[in-house]
């Protein structure tokens, strides 16, 4: 060993050590391998955050992984003589000892790794989670205990005391004696042979820390104390280029500007230097220490020896790729899990299919045999893979959740399994919907399948706690997730590092829209909304100011770097009793422990993860049912509701689906308007169509045309007709992709799913070759093969599995049914749990549109929930004489009111006077004023007396000068005043009016509606009493603005101005690769969905993503019998009056519009003719912000040549089949990126 075999870096931070390391594990491993190293360590700060990725990267690069951690240590509990004293308590360390590196011993069947995991968990046990929970550290005594192995000669952990330790700090300050004393103390406390001195030189200037002189002193101390020394470079980046990024991360970590940062790295030499450079450093240290070549050799030798002790054998040491599931005894079985699963499945089948299974036998009918075969098939695969106990575990979890009375349903491909269905894990019958088990699990997959379970979001934490209790805290932990820099966060932290004003940076951040931070500079050139910023950069450059240029560069540097870990929104890890030996844990935001590993680490680390996702819609449904029962006594069992209720589908077809699961987004409303669903299967297809795959491969339009009988259903080959019939010849489902593979190549469904997974990845070419060869051999013509492959290629990995669509369609239908038949209760549920993509205020507007009274916060009636309330008569009711149910705003809707205050307010109801509220509810002064402003105290005002404004003034006067926010009842003044009024009016009884309010002199009128709306928005973020746009009514009327509800009566291609509050912005991927921005605004009469193409984006400029109240000029485009949308021409920000058009705008610019329309028609005609359209003076295209590289990757068009051959460049298929020539603009149906559509996880 030694120098010849390359140098091993033993102290290396990866980017996963948040706000410290700069380089990704792959970069580090590749750099080390390129230099000829045969091993590499990963020692992130405070945890094993990057470890699994490091091990994978090392295996890929042919290196032996070494794993460790860089930890803060403290002497607490160790006496000065090195004797371990009584353990101390308390969280913050009393005697900090700096930071050390701890490496796990390798080749010992995981003993070293176990000790490392436990050590790190102990370090985090000193914290309470969250940013304010303190920082992790470990006591030297704890470290010593974990490092001791059974064999005293073989410690489990090695501790590197280096420049960051207290010893190193003493040596840097030339306190030699202190340094040596501390080192001896370390030696006395730690097990024999586990201590090393870490020698580092970053070649900083003489006299500074990390200089060669500093290293020399460390080396001498190691000599004097007979502790072996090792050489590292305390690496934070793979190459010198990362040094500036490290500076920015240091600034971000300490929330400081670079200029003010006093703890900057001394220079930029903390990179993964090649072995030759490290040997050179060793020689310089040797020379300066005056010890010569032997000492140099010894230093390198000892480094190599430590490396050899710490090489990890991934399988035995880390449990790499070895799945571990809970012990059979924990899930309550004693025999073989396979037999148990078989028995339970049979019992479950009896319950699910009573007509097909009786006793232990399946019926002898066709259906019975089919059921039996399917069950045998699935159980066979599960048994061969050894996953029986996994299925039993999931079944146990679901049983437990159902037992808690929490709504639960499986989502995703798990619904493809009959075994899941009979075990009650999934509610979808896979036979009925022709779902394929292999899409979920097959012999060819060796990793555990994902079974995802949706539960009520509001009770998610309760479910987690129950799981910890049920399986034991030693077997259960939450999964974590890495949160990386996105562009807005990156620009904020880059601005902070440069010391820019936060207002200025915020303004820039608001204009940014979802491009990758790494392409900021390119985005500046191409994105219209950044034009103003680009101009400022340019003018700054001319004036010799470089700050904005640097801002762009630093933002790009931060791209994707991890910022922190947090609890994953749904992952729970279940293991056996050794789980905490295999993952370090730390407190999460909710107190429960979470693993330092994220979802990518689960399979390699052999961990079983269950996705238990909190879904707000499930909570909404639960609450709606509860309110129905409370107000009417009726118990609705949704399971019994027929799935073919005509009224529900009629409601869906009106596209008034705001609030309904999965079908409320602007694009979905448009699609529904076109598709007009009539049955449950339509909902499954609708949800599945609304995905990137079908959108990008132009599946929606042909599907709609064929569905409505406008186009001929056509199959690439008659053999495929049975596969594609249900979707009119269009590929919509993964299941269809699998069957197409199988039909044309005979590969079997299991392999077909493997092929599907490889599409879009590096293995695709092999799949294509196989497909073409086998299909050709079976006699399919080249045209058919080309066409089908084109579909498979485009659709491949993007599409949607029908099982998932079916699982989603159930809550979609339930929510639509509830909105149809119990609209008031449903809206109360929506207000209460806020499940959708829109701000709550839009749902208030929806209630107003539906004529459902929305009742303001009232101190005597409101509670901590949005409750149904009978309204005998109400100004908003069309027929005031007849009562109806309305929704009372909850106290929780008012910001600033604490949970305790709400409890007291509720406990004290009803109140007869202001004094009564003060006395019994004791809100803070500010909150009492807020309640008055909102009108919550109006009920205490005497009729015909003082107004709400008078009351607010009165309270403000009373509170002026005291300035405190202490509860009112505790204030002596309050008591005296109340006592005084009581004395005067001592004989007044309960029923008489409030004397304090009665005594107010009416001076001011009630607040105007505009004032009221403004107050409501400020305090509740909802405009309850009138729509926000009302305050702009006069100007908008003068302009001739069209209301949303009137749009539908207009002809297509009418020119209109519309105005409203922005409720959604989406930029779905488009087949053309150009960006189209879909903005939805709400004007009180409904939603208007406007699409901004290239020209409109240029016309609109900087306010495209930042304006809240918008005025939009556009042309109507009818998209279906009930659907109309707007093609925008330009838009204005209503908050910038100086930019707004004059009232005669529509008349004075008619000619410009005609010219625009002509151009637009010419362009459309050119597209139809398949010619590129280059209008004179055309504005540059705005590319879509793909998450991948730049220029944007575009899915191949299927059967249609790319819209603009230049834009899509390297198409794989040079000769697409000339099937249709009817070119058209990008599908005008936006679909949000999938994650936006998925129900929002609990915040």
């Amino acid at each position: 060993m030694g120098a010849g075999a390359g140098f091993t870096h033993l102290h290396v931070a990866s980017a996963f050590g948040a706000h410290y390391g700069v380089s990704w594990p792959e970069e580090l491993a590749q750099a080390a391998a390129a230099d000829g190293a045969d091993a590499l360590a990963c020692t992130d700060r405070d945890g094993l955050y990057g470890m699994a990725k490091h091990v994978q990267a090392c295996l890929n690069a042919g290196l032996a992984p070494v794993v460790g951690v860089d930890l803060a240590v403290a002497w607490d509990g160790v006496g000065p003589d090195g004797q371990v004293a009584v353990p101390v308590t308390g969280h913050a360390p009393q005697h900090p000892a700096g930071r050390v590196v701890v490496l796990a011993r390798g080749g010992c069947d995981g003993a070293g790794y176990r000790a490392l995991c436990r050590l790190i968990s102990d370090a985090h046990a000193h914290t309470t989670g969250g940013s304010a929970g303190g920082s992790p550290y470990v006591r030297v005594a704890e470290l010593a205990a974990h490092a001791s192995g059974e064999d005293p000669a073989e410690p489990l952990l090695y501790v590197l005391v280096g420049p960051g330790s207290e010893v190193g700090q003493a040596m840097a300050a030339r306190r030699y004696t202190q340094g040596r004393t501390l080192l001896r103390r370390w030696k006395a406390v730690l097990p024999a042979g586990s201590l090393r001195v870490e020698v580092v030189s970053h070649l900083s200037p003489p006299g500074q820390r990390l200089s060669t002189a500093h290293a020399v002193r460390m080396l001498r101390a190691s000599r004097d104390t007979r502790v072996p020394a090792v050489l590292t470079n305390a690496v934070r980046y793979a190459a010198p280029d990362g040094a500036a990024t490290a500076d920015v991360l240091d600034a971000a970590r300490t929330l400081s500007s670079l200029e003010a940062l006093d703890d900057l790295q001394p220079n930029g030499q903390g990179w993964l230097k090649p072995g030759a450079a490290m040997e050179q450093i060793a020689r310089e240290i040797g020379r300066d220490s005056g010890e010569g070549a032997d000492a140099v050799q010894e230093l390198l030798q000892q480094t190599a020896e430590l490396t050899d002790l710490c090489r990890m054998d991934p399988g035995p040491d880390l449990g790499w790729m070895r799945p571990v599931v809970p012990e059979a005894s924990v899930i309550g079985i004693s025999g073989a899990p396979e037999r148990e699963l078989r028995n339970r499945s049979l019992a479950g089948a009896r319950a699910r299919y009573p007509h097909l299974v009786s006793g232990g036998r399946f019926a002898a009918t066709h259906e019975g045999r089919e059921l039996e075969q399917r069950m045998e098939h699935e159980l066979g695969i599960i048994e061969r893979l050894g996953f029986a106990s996994y299925f039993l575990t999931v079944a146990e979890v679901v049983r437990m959740i159902e037992g808690m009375g929490v709504r639960v349903s499986a989502r995703g491909s798990g619904a493809s399994s009959l075994v899941n269905h009979v075990l009650r894990i999934s509610n979808v019958d896979p036979l009925e919907h022709e779902l394929i088990f292999e899409r979920f699990l097959s012999q060819d997959r060796s990793t555990l399948p994902d079974i995802d379970v949706d539960v009520e979001s509001a009770r998610r934490h309760e479910v987690y706690r129950a799981m910890f209790e049920r399986f034991g805290a030693e077997r259960t932990t939450l999964m974590s997730m890495q949160n990386g820099y996105r562009v807005r966060g990156a620009v904020r932290d880059a601005g902070l590092a440069l010391g820019m004003e936060s207002d200025q940076v915020d303004g820039i951040a608001k204009q940014m829209w979802r491009f990758s931070a790494s392409s900021f500079r390119e985005a500046m050139d191409r994105m219209p909304e950044l034009r103003g910023f680009a101009d400022r950069v340019e003018s700054g450059r001319r004036q010799g100011q470089q700050q904005l240029d640097l801002l762009v560069d630093l933002t790009e540097r931060l791209d994707r770097l991890p910022r922190h870990i947090s609890m994953h929104p749904c992952g729970v890890i279940l293991g056996d009793a050794t789980l905490l030996d295999r993952t370090p844990v730390q407190p999460s935001g909710i107190g429960l422990p979470m693993s330092q590993f994220d979802k990518h680490d689960m399979d390699p680390m052999g961990m079983l993860k269950l996705d238990v996702l909190g879904v707000r819609m499930q909570s909404t449904i639960a609450y709606t049912l509860q309110e129905i029962e409370r107000t009417t006594g009726e118990t609705v069992d949704l399971e019994q509701v027929p799935l073919d209720d005509p009224a529900t589908y009629e409601m869906i077809r009106t596209t008034h689906t705001l609030g309904c699961f999965q079908i409320e987004s602007p694009g979905q409303r448009e699609l529904i308007g076109k598709m007009a669903p009539v049955e449950f299967n339509d909902l499954i297809i609708d949800i599945s169509l609304f995905r990137p795959g079908p959108m990008q491969s132009d599946m929606v339009r042909p599907f709609l045309e064929q569905r409505h009988g406008w186009g001929m259903t056509r199959y690439p080959h008659p053999d495929l007709a049975p596969v594609l019939a249900e979707t009119h010849g269009v590929t919509v489902f993964h299941e269809q992709v699998l069957r197409m593979f199988d039909v044309m190549t005979g590969c079997g469904l299991a392999r077909a799913d493997e092929f599907r997974r490889q599409i879009g990845g590096p293995g695709e070419q092999g799949v294509e070759a196989f497909f073409r060869r086998e299909a050709l051999a079976r006699g399919y013509s080249l045209e058919v093969i080309d066409e089908v492959w084109g579909t498979l290629h485009a659709f491949g990995s993007f599409g949607f599995c029908k099982a998932h669509g079916a699982a989603f369609a159930v809550p979609t239908y339930y929510s639509a049914w509830l909105k149809t038949h119990h609209p008031e209760a449903f809206l109360a549920g929506i207000f209460e749990h806020d499940p959708g993509m829109y701000p709550r205020r839009l749902m208030v507007a929806e209630a107003r549109r539906m004529g459902i009274p929305v009742l303001p916060v009232d101190v005597n009636v409101s509670t901590d929930r949005f409750r149904l309330e009978w309204v005998p008569s109400h100004p908003e009711l069309p027929d005031g004489g007849q009562g109806r149910w309305g929704v009372r705003m909850a106290f929780t809707s008012m910001s600033g009111l604490s949970g305790t205050e709400i409890k007291r307010l509720m406990a004290g109801q009803p109140y007869t006077s202001l004094a009564d509220v003060r006395d019994r509810a004791r809100p803070t002064r500010r909150n009492l004023e807020r309640l008055a402003q909102l009108g919550a105290l109006d009920c205490l005002l005497p009729p015909g007396g003082a107004s709400r404004t008078d009351l607010v003034h009165h309270l403000e006067l009373q509170h002026a000068g005291t300035g405190s926010s202490a509860p009112l009842g505790h204030h002596p003044d309050g008591r005296r005043r109340r006592a005084g009024s009581r004395q005067v009016d001592g004989q007044l009884s309960f029923a008489l009016p409030d004397t304090e309010t009665a005594a107010l002199t009416p001076m001011f009128p009630s607040p105007s509606r505009d004032q009221q709306v403004r107050t409501e928005l400020d305090l509740t973020a909802m405009d309850t009493s009138a729509h926000l746009m009302e305050s702009h009514r006069a100007y908008l009327d003068a302009l001739g603005v069209t209301a949303a509800e009137d749009l539908l009566s207009l002809r297509s291609q009418s020119r209109v101005l519309v105005a409203g509050v922005r409720v959604a912005t989406q930029t779905p991927p488009m087949r053309s690769g150009k960006r189209v921005v879909f903005i939805s605004v709400d004007d009180g009469t409904g939603c208007i969905d406007a699409s901004f193409f290239t020209e409109a984006q240029h016309q609109t400029g900087e306010m495209l993503f930042s304006a809240r109240l918008m005025l939009i000029e556009g042309t109507t485009r009818r998209t279906g019998p009930k659907a109309i949308s707007l093609q925008a021409i330009r838009a204005w920000d209503l908050h910038r009056p100086e930019t707004l058009p004059n009232p005669d705008y529509l008349d004075s610019t008619r000619e410009q519009w005609r010219a625009w329309l002509r151009r637009d028609r010419q362009a459309a005609a050119a597209r139809r003719a398949g010619q590129p359209w280059d209008a004179p003076g055309a504005l540059p295209d705005v590319p879509h912000h793909s998450t991948g590289g730049w220029p944007v990757k575009v899915g191949a068009a299927v059967g249609v040549p790319p819209e603009n051959p230049d834009a899509t460049g390297g198409q794989r298929h040079s000769s697409p089949p000339p099937r249709r020539a009817d070119q058209h603009r990008p599908v005008p149906v936006p679909h949000p990126e999938t994650w936006e559509l998925l129900p929002a996880p609990e915040r």
Binding site: D241, E259, N267, G268
Partner: protein, 109 residues
């Protein structure tokens, strides 16, 4: 100590260690093993750009402290100089001449 920034030409060994330098039209040879370090720069204030992939030399520059004497006068007195190497441009500059010899320099200048 005086602070200069004068351009110098430096000849280096294959290992990158300075061996001789030309300064003010004279050639000097390095007479003792030089010492080197990397000195930090306030790059956020001094630089216009800090783009990714720019490489070495943004955050620090290399400094060598060399003891030299005139190549043509082997018995001339030793000078101790700090010369900096800008890794991005490849240029060398003389940044410091240590006290003992500055006097002589002034006199001879």
């Amino acid at each position: 100590m005086g602070v200069f920034t004068q351009s110098v030409a430096v000849g280096r060994s294959s290992a990158g260690v300075p061996e001789q330098l030309e300064w003010n039209g004279r050639t000097y040879v390095v007479a003792a093993e030089p010492v080197r370090w990397f000195e930090r720069r306030r790059w956020w204030a001094e630089e216009r750009r800090a783009e990714r992939g720019r490489g070495a030399g943004l955050v620090d520059h290399e400094v060598w402290r060399v003891q030299v004497r005139l190549a043509r006068a082997p018995r001339s007195p030793l000078l101790t100089l700090d010369i900096s190497h800008h890794l991005d441009s490849g240029r060398w500059r003389l940044i410091q001449i240590h006290d003992a010899v500055r006097q002589d320099l002034r006199e001879s200048a």
